[in-house]
């Protein structure tokens, strides 16, 4: 289901080159939308004093997450190996239900569509969707 073809990888890398300058914005907005539109995701952040979508903890965390995505782009040829540590973190410490990776991915796609409406063609959309799905699989690798 989520084998990235050479074309997929090229498309992802080319699109990422165009948008990486706005990575922090994308991260902040994706996380804000995830918290606002899918409030069940706030359950993972009960330890934040401020759980609002545009609060400081959410903005900081959006940047952290997007840095992870940027790193994954550079490791696109072997996500499982490249994301080993992150997978262990999500499996044993954070224990995030992997269904939420899909939710965050969807919000990243919405933000990319808003910020880059011309570049976010259907072809780029499918390549990014596949990439984020592969990323999610690699993150869930150590779960069980």
């Amino acid at each position: 289901m989520t084998t990235l073809t050479a074309k997929d990888k090229d498309t992802v890398k080319a699109f990422w080159a165009k948008v990486s300058g706005k990575a922090e914005d994308i991260g902040k907005q994706s996380l804000a939308r995830m918290l606002a539109v899918y409030p069940q995701t706030k359950t993972y952040f009960a330890h934040w004093k401020d759980q609002s979508p545009d609060g400081a903890p959410a903005r900081k965390h959006g940047i952290t997450v997007m840095n992870g995505v940027a790193d994954a782009v550079s490791k696109i040829d072997n996500l499982t190996a490249g994301l080993l540590e992150l997978s262990e973190l999500h499996a044993f410490t954070l224990r995030v239900d992997p269904a939420n990776f899909k939710i965050l991915a969807h919000n990243m796609l919405v933000v990319m569509a808003i910020m880059f409406p011309i570049e976010f063609t259907p072809e780029v959309h499918v390549a990014m969707d596949k990439f984020l799905a592969s990323l999610a699989l690699a993150l869930a690798e150590k779960y069980r």
């Binding site: 907005q29 804000a32 939308r33 606002a36 539109v37 979508p53 545009d54 969807h106 796609l109 919405v110 569509a113 808003i114 910020m115 409406p117 976010f120 259907p122 072809e123 959309h125 499918v126 969707d129």
Partner: protein, 147 residues
């Protein structure tokens, strides 16, 4: 039964007013076929829909995209009674077209993304939340006659 506040109703209408059905419909349906290619199974009479460029140049895809968004217009107009408005469509998609209802969720996501490309920052997080609430009600209504 999903209840919408007056503020939510006006948010939904405000976004919908910005949507050109003739543009967004074809874009949304094209994305469904390109991003989730198993959906091709439901459009056997559409000819070549097996590559992204074929989908984007296909007149039947374009026409059907408009049909789908016109139906969404009915939901916007009957936002307090979506289930009843869509009962017929749900039955049709179940008994005649045999569509796996998970695909309604995928279509809803593609509609949101197509609208995002069009209205851009007008779809802020709060508006996105309201729009999602509306589309979830539509997806539920489309599921309602599957039994």
């Amino acid at each position: 039964m999903v209840k919408f506040t007056e503020k939510e109703r006006s948010t939904i209408r405000a976004i919908w007013e910005k949507v050109n059905i003739d543009e967004v419909g074809p874009d949304a349906l094209a994305r469904v076929l390109i991003v989730y290619p198993w959906t091709e199974r439901y459009f056997g009479t559409f000819g070549d829909i097996f590559t992204a460029s074929a989908v984007l140049n296909n007149d039947k895809v374009r026409a059907h995209g408009k049909v789908v968004l016109k139906a969404l217009d009915e939901a916007v107009k009957n936002v307090d009674n979506i289930k009843k408005t869509y009962a017929y469509l749900s039955r049709l998609h179940y008994e005649v077209f045999h569509v796996d209802p998970d695909n309604f969720r995928l279509l809803a996501d593609c509609i949101t993304i197509a609208i995002a490309c069009k209205v851009k920052s007008a779809l802020d997080p709060q508006v996105q939340a309201t729009w999602k609430k509306f589309l979830s009600a539509v997806v539920d209504a489309m599921n309602s006659q599957y039994y």
